[in-house]
């Protein structure tokens, strides 16, 4: 009986050690991975609103003062174009402002091509405030959109010179 008990204890110890070592080996292995694993890919499309003009400046010279019957003269430049890229979802618009009012009796007007949206046509910017020039520009990119700038001055005895900065802003309306 003692021999049997002794052998039983030995066998039990052996199995206990075997089980313990086995579990230590198995548990981390099982925890290290299954037959599949998943990772995440994420691409975030941020808002894009880019506008540029083909030339930084234009000069307008009113030269038709001497024509009979004119009370005012005008000069127009259409040599500058603009490029635009937007992904605002068709709600982008372009506003224009010269920052401060023109000198008395002088006028400045702008007419921008639609860039796929809707042009406001010839718009008076003389008061210096911001005016919508194009609205509803769809997602996309376009180049070579026209910019027409018109300067109007009355006939006076004095030579008049004015310099203004026209700021075009692309907004998500």
């Amino acid at each position: 009986v003692n021999i049997l008990k002794k052998n039983t204890i030995k066998l039990s110890l052996f199995l206990a050690v075997f089980a313990f070592v086995g579990m230590i080996a198995v548990v981390p292995a099982l925890a290290s991975g299954g037959n599949s694993d998943t990772i995440n890919v994420s691409y975030q499309n941020d808002a894009i609103a880019q506008l540029s003009v083909s030339s930084p400046s234009v000069s307008l010279h009113v030269t038709d003062y001497n024509e009979a019957g004119n009370s005012q003269g005008s000069a127009t430049d259409a040599s500058v174009t603009y490029s635009v890229t937007t992904n605002a979802g068709g709600t982008a618009k372009i506003t224009g402002s010269i920052g401060s009012p023109m000198e008395s009796t002088l006028q400045l007007l702008a007419n921008l091509g639609s860039a796929g949206g809707m042009s406001a046509g010839e718009t008076d910017l003389t008061d210096g405030s911001s005016h919508d020039l194009v609205s509803g520009i769809p997602n996309g990119s376009s180049t070579g959109n026209s910019i027409s700038i018109k300067f109007v001055a009355p006939i006076t005895a004095n030579r008049v010179t004015s310099s203004k900065t026209l700021t075009l802003t692309l907004l998500d309306s």
């Binding site: 199995l15 995440n40 890919v41 994420s42 691409y43 975030q44 808002a47 979802g89």
Partner: protein, 157 residues
Amino acid sequence: LLKCFAVIAVITFLAYSSMAVSITAIGGVSRVIDSSDLIAGAGSDLHDTYESPLDATAIEILNCSGTAEGWRVDVSRSDVEWNNNLVLYVRRTSNGVGDGTISGGGEYQEVTSSPSTLFSGVNNRQFIYVQYKLAGESVQVPIDRYISNVTFTVVDI
């Protein structure tokens, strides 16, 4: 007591014998696409494709029996938020290290909702890197965050 230990021993043995080849994938992609990704500034569109780093995801194949146990890795994706213009590709960019071998998957292949085999091999391999490519981007794709879960599955062969 003897019975108790015997049961534990049998369970341990069965657990060992039932251990199949396993896979671990670490690392993903998080990319912001903005005006700096335009081809040529205002008036141009976004670049069409965006590649992740070569080692975007590290994959490990472990628990092979060590007796020329063959396996293959399938890849599929499940979208959280996606746009139908966008196409996701994946390719293997390294052989990894280990006592086994590896082959296939060196060319970009589209990741879809259906599992497709990316590469296969024999025995344990670690540091297997994969790279992703997103195609179909443009400013026509609405502003949003597009997320997909890419699942790698190892299959005994």
